[in-house]
Symmetry: C3
Subunit: 342 residues, 3 copies
Amino acid sequence: MSIEAKFLKNVWYLSAWLCELASGSLARTIAGVPVLFFEGEEGYAAILDRCPHRFAPLSRGRVERGSVECGYHGLVFGADGGCIRNPHGPLVSALRVPAYPVVQRHDGLWVWLGDPEAADPALIPDLSFIDRTSPEARVAGHLENEANYMLMVENIMDLSHADYLHPTTLGNGINTRTKGKVASEGGVISIKWHADDETLPPAQNAFLPEPGQRADFRNEVWWHPPGVMTQRLMFGPSGRLESEGADSRTAHVMTPMHGTRTHYFFCHTSDGVTRDPSIAPAVLDILLSAFVGEDSPMLAAQQARIGDADFWDLKPVLLPIDSGAVLVRRRMDALIAAEHIA
Amino acid sequence: MSIEAKFLKNVWYLSAWLCELASGSLARTIAGVPVLFFEGEEGYAAILDRCPHRFAPLSRGRVERGSVECGYHGLVFGADGGCIRNPHGPLVSALRVPAYPVVQRHDGLWVWLGDPEAADPALIPDLSFIDRTSPEARVAGHLENEANYMLMVENIMDLSHADYLHPTTLGNGINTRTKGKVASEGGVISIKWHADDETLPPAQNAFLPEPGQRADFRNEVWWHPPGVMTQRLMFGPSGRLESEGADSRTAHVMTPMHGTRTHYFFCHTSDGVTRDPSIAPAVLDILLSAFVGEDSPMLAAQQARIGDADFWDLKPVLLPIDSGAVLVRRRMDALIAAEHIA
Amino acid sequence: MSIEAKFLKNVWYLSAWLCELASGSLARTIAGVPVLFFEGEEGYAAILDRCPHRFAPLSRGRVERGSVECGYHGLVFGADGGCIRNPHGPLVSALRVPAYPVVQRHDGLWVWLGDPEAADPALIPDLSFIDRTSPEARVAGHLENEANYMLMVENIMDLSHADYLHPTTLGNGINTRTKGKVASEGGVISIKWHADDETLPPAQNAFLPEPGQRADFRNEVWWHPPGVMTQRLMFGPSGRLESEGADSRTAHVMTPMHGTRTHYFFCHTSDGVTRDPSIAPAVLDILLSAFVGEDSPMLAAQQARIGDADFWDLKPVLLPIDSGAVLVRRRMDALIAAEHIA
């Protein structure tokens, strides 16, 4: 099976933060499918961004309230994909583009590319910490990266990499020393790094009451297939985590664009930024400098070395730090196999 | 059969306007074949732009009157492709590049890539309206576009697209309201939009005696395989088409470069420009703004959505406006199949 | 067999001039293999530039004396490819990258990608003229070119091309008039152009005692598989070659990067530059203007015309000037076939 085909269909893909749809529409390729998202009468709609007549991208046309007019020959399609105006003849049923279930949730737009009957919004992972945070205290963004989405998922499922790739911000050896504990429950795979009386990485150390003091540390990630992860990070002076600790939650959502390019949606919240939203830009700077400056080139270089090869065919040497990542990859292999058999 | 192979060989391809050969030679890829056009003793010559010795492009060498010296090892070839000088040994018969019949006609150079025995110049479609127009009254050009040549042919065979893609110049709904009548005769497929007492598109309306007045309209296109089309457009105040009408003819010639890139040669003439050639630049501006600004990006986007897929495999929904385009495409399918069987 | 696969493994590839390793390491793709060269305790080392854990390029990590730390998860590898530090667990034997025999010789670094048992340094062709020349009198460099390495080898094995491609410097017809004599001995193929009482090309003529006078000329190239060539050029006033002649030696080493891109290492020495090293920059200018300005674009254009085709499938017309090049290519075909059977 080619890497291009390794996308689950019957899952919700986070496709945009709502602010990205300010103009009323957005064209974006999700798991290999060019999708046009636009405002309909009853919320957002998502349809294949390809006219069924002569395959022009509908996103090159005129998007109005609840409808899209193809810019090439004027066919108009509604939010359900049906043609609602054909200047050249009758409205035959063949004049239809695939429409995809879409749900607006957690400040984002989620699309379901598989069987519409199965598109249960309850299957969207719970990112309600976003909703509970005031918009100005959310540190969020959308980046694209030249790597397969599974490499990007595994990057988060093994945060020991921070000790080596982000030594000036997010890592100082603590994730390596504190071996992650992996668990799997109800389809969710978690990995937790818990340490007491440790020294913290620079980015967290700076927020301690007395920088340099020893601290307790709780770093936890939960993965939901195919690429939704929530991270909770708590730290505080040794023995005073509950009373004086800092607490943050971050959504890391990896949505495949195609085989070697990925949408990375992130949303970071913390009690610190909630108390003082004016520091949000500084926190964003730390996240961007780590991801854009360090993760992104490393992941793209990793992808380049892998090339078109199948990951397992290259016989990676597995380490204890990979236990979460490997469990995720094997789960995904099983889910994809199951979907293709079904 | 791959898209790359879908080129007829036994046809004349318009390959350059003569003015493009002012320097004496021109290298251009026609239907997948790199061709070097150059001035010979008896008119222009066309040979494969690849030395038979070590495959250097001959166009990187020295082109002189009737001969081309390879810039790598000095072999000299004449207009018939035969080697006329070999500094390294005898003039053996194997030292020969394919030469292609070429005809200078209608201000352009036409090449025949197939069986030379069949290269009858009488098969070149009649574009003699160009010859009857003084050079300063011709609005002509050569553009390249990132789309398969059939998409570009179909774009002209269905001018209803002007109503949506060119609403500020060439379209106002008139081609849509006036359904095109398709006919086929002797290998030529025509489509005609005839309307009486209509409102004209902006670009034509501006040329009416009283802009805004109702008018009669005759818009006609004739296609010759594989990509030569002539368009005649007449319009004038209602009932006074004969006495006060404007009359224009345009050649639209689509010559494949390779599977997804096309040479577009156009030459527009009209009684208006013939009377006053000083308006030629303004007319050229209208044509370029429509093609370069509107058609070209739409056709390239259409090609990108089609990708490597076969057009029919994508199951396009055919509309009445496609009748001319579909007839052309099926005719081409038959001609290509016949050439490959023969 | 694809062009990509046509690389010998059991040969020494010149991979860098030592000055290119001034920073202590260099990442370079050799014959399709990404290799990291770095200083070890006992000379240079060469290992696969791909971590066995998750395939990050090791060259993105930290290179220290005799070891390389992967920048992604901190695994440290030694000069023999073995893992010498694993922050995440035991040093299992699987934690190993392929290491390649490497030899520092003739001011360059040579790597052996095949069976290490067979890596006999005595197989490195003798370029000791480099060692006998003081560093400031060596005119050397590394260029990359967009052409298969065999095209670049053949370019040197047929210097008649200089008469056409470099008419203002290295050629004036002398190599064409003086047919090269080809010989093969012990796996080395040589071609020699010997002429007496001839006129010299501009670049050599300028160095005659009286420019314009007739001269004797000895131009000789020896090829060692797969792409190491030494050239000796002697010339002097007619009859006084021994007493007043100039003498130069040049190494032309073509190391494949991948199928259509080649490393070109050159090192030119001459008695003239040895006597007066201050003219080295001027000599370098002549070499670079010929190669970068004339050979490189011609070879890239030749490669583009060949595309993915097999060279023989295109049925090149062989000339007497090709006798050396053809012998080399057939020898390479045989060596590659033998290595694949073995």
